[in-house]
Symmetry: C2
């Protein structure tokens, strides 16, 4: 099967926001509470942050599992990597995820302010100031036949959508509103000229939206 | 994560049958038409029998994908392996799947009539006359840390359920009835003393039932 470019477990509000305003070290999602936005994923057996055995294996977990299945590289925006903006004041910051990041593959961070690559356990972070298509070409090569995950945040996913580089997109819509912040869409139907769309309501209260290329 | 014992994409009728009566070389599922029982899976992008690009990537495909994710071995019944019953008349029969079986792992075939192991491409078939627990122990070792799939048919899955060896079970219920044949259950609720159950209706018309240990 041809290499796919995939988005998984992207959490947005009913009004289409994936992050609030005022993102900071203390509030990575701004005024939006990630505990609410991602409440569906924490109980699942395959949540990558899970540190104890057990967890649910129902519908939500089927989506949670996809995060790692056949993924060989991730591309993320600089705002997902950290709360800093502009030139690096120092290079001490190594991401939010501690010594054992949940990626286990090469990760390409899009930024106008490159810095040297470094590795934490089996994740290697590279910093690239290139177009989505250029960085995707490098990530595909690094993924060695496996798929590439576009990890977010919302601005990065918009860039890749606008460049028509996404093959498959999974968005979990939580029954909350944000009012302002970083917006993925006004309505999911904005994408249906290019993508099939299926809506799957979950017992947890989120609605999973599945998009794939027409 | 601990090794799991998983069942995926098991097709049954509304009245709980996974195969009809009169299984033969010409009718592997007896009077039940597998084209109807598995109509939901053939259009999916990740159906293991797919030979052309494309395919759907909606809800049904999310279940289809699980067939290969993190699987290191399969256990199947002899009636899944072939239409013969009783002692082998010869050992020419090498399964239904041609030179490139869709398993790509060791496969343990439960039979009272052992024969030598053989390999087809990257699938190796072993024949074992042991209890479910004994054969599972061997399959777990062969899976090298990955999970073990119990591949069916219905009688084999019943044996493993009765021995309480299944961790997770996915059944796709088609809106047809069979009347007689090989029956998985009278009602899915028979399993809810030991398993959580979620029902997920699909646009294709099947209802996916997800069971996992309480």
């Amino acid at each position: 099967m041809e290499q796919q470019v995939r988005v998984h477990n992207l959490g947005v509000t009913e009004d289409g926001y994936g992050a609030g305003v005022g993102q900071s070290l203390e509030q990575p999602f701004g005024h939006l509470d990630p505990g609410t936005l991602f409440s569906w994923i924490f109980p699942t057996a395959h949540w990558v942050g899970r540190s104890t055995p057990g967890g649910s294996r129902g519908l939500d977990d089927r989506f949670s599992r996809e995060f790692t299945r056949n993924i060989g590289a991730e591309i993320m925006g600089r705002n997902k990597f950290g709360p800093q903006r502009g030139p690096w004041q120092d290079e001490d910051w190594q991401g939010w995820w501690g010594d054992e990041p949940p990626f286990h593959t090469p990760v390409f961070v899009l930024t106008h302010h490159p810095r040297p690559s470094f590795a934490l356990s089996d994740t290697t972070f590279h910093f690239r100031d290139g177009s989505p298509a250029e960085v995707l070409a490098e990530a595909k090569a690094a993924a060695d036949g496996q798929d590439v995950r576009i990890g977010g945040g919302v601005a990065t996913i918009r860039e890749f959508l606008d460049a028509n580089l996404i093959d498959e997109l999974h968005v979990a819509v939580s029954p909350i509103t944000a009012g302002n912040g970083e917006r993925l869409w006004e309505r999911p139907e904005e994408l249906t000229d290019r993508f099939h769309l299926e809506r799957v309501p979950s017992p947890s209260g989120v609605t999973h939206l599945l998009f794939w290329r027409r």
